[in-house]
């Protein structure tokens, strides 16, 4: 790769914004996300021989990043849960400015999704991967990605639906339906 290090550096630089967006969406924490991105860049640089030229560099980097994240999660599961619990509590107590509220709620709900569902949702719903690409990044079947995305959607709807019924009509029957829909699906 010695001869390619210049173009490689440019390619990596160009993909950093995308990687950061994925990392932040995945772990909900900018500082940790940047650590993930840094580790991903180092691993990519040092293991370039395992990258097959002509294949998707972005998908390869995303794969490294998510593998790093998930093995990291396994290693420090307890610590992460404590921290995210605290973070969720802080958001609940300090909802911030009015115009900001919905987005805060959304971030919190996103962080409360099981990580595999959040990953699938972000890959397909924000990063622009097809189901097939997302499945290859996550190392699972296409059907698994589809069902994770569906479960993530359902769960977000449940978590956030009750807070916004008036957007869909102020009458009580609508609210009753929304409340019922938002009743909750069993966690997998």
């Amino acid at each position: 790769m010695n001869v390619h290090s210049g173009p490689l550096k440019q390619a990596l630089l160009g993909l950093i914004p995308n990687l950061r967006a994925f990392a932040v969406s995945l772990c909900g924490d900018v500082e940790r996300a940047d650590d993930l991105v840094q580790e991903t860049l180092l691993k990519a640089w040092n293991h370039l021989e395992s990258f097959q030229e002509g294949t998707n560099l972005r998908a390869w980097l995303f794969t490294i990043l998510r593998n790093t994240y998930f093995s990291d999660c396994r290693r420090r599961r307890r610590e992460v849960e404590d921290r995210e619990g605290k973070k969720a509590a802080e958001l609940a107590i300090h909802p911030g400015q009015q115009g900001h509220l919905d987005m805060q709620d959304f971030r919190r709900a996103l962080n409360l999704l099981p990580p595999d569902q959040r990953e699938a949702l972000v890959l397909v719903g924000a990063a622009g991967f097809s189901y097939e690409e997302a499945a290859s990044v996550s190392g699972c079947a296409v059907g698994t990605i589809k069902s994770r995305v569906n479960r993530a959607r359902t769960k977000l709807t449940e978590m956030l639906g009750v807070n916004t019924p008036r957007e869909f009509g102020p009458d009580s029957s609508t609210e009753a339906i929304v409340a019922r829909t938002a009743g909750g699906t069993r966690l997998p």
Binding site: R20, V24, L42, T181
Partner: protein, 108 residues
């Protein structure tokens, strides 16, 4: 293109619209399982009672419409978070890291 439609069920290829027996109705039938054990029992009972299932499916259709606007809204929020970070300038630490890696490479 899938990426832009992550939330809008019906427009994603290979996926059934969120009506009838799609994920939406599954969600409703299983509804409240976690938070409310009694509701979960009711839901289980409904599975075995066709008359109650009919009422349920009527609600499901109405809920499906609400669901879709809500999901479109959630999709916009998800992309807003993602794109918001994408638009941030690349932090200096990464520029320095890549320069250092490149310099090390050239020394070999």
């Amino acid at each position: 293109m899938n990426g832009k439609n992550g939330f809008t069920g019906p427009t994603v290829p290979g996926e059934a619209p969120p009506r009838g027996d799609s994920g939406v109705s599954r969600g409703v039938r299983q509804g409240a399982g976690k938070r409310d054990a009694r509701a979960a029992r009711d839901a289980t009972e409904m599975e075995n009672r066709p008359d109650m299932q009919r009422a349920q499916s009527h609600d499901t259709q109405a809920a499906g419409l609400i669901d879709r606007s809500l999901q479109a809204q959630l999709g916009r929020q998800l992309r807003a978070i993602f794109e918001g970070i994408e638009e941030e300038p690349v932090p200096e630490r990464f520029v320095r890291l890549l320069e250092a890696l490149e310099a090390r490479e050239k020394q070999r």
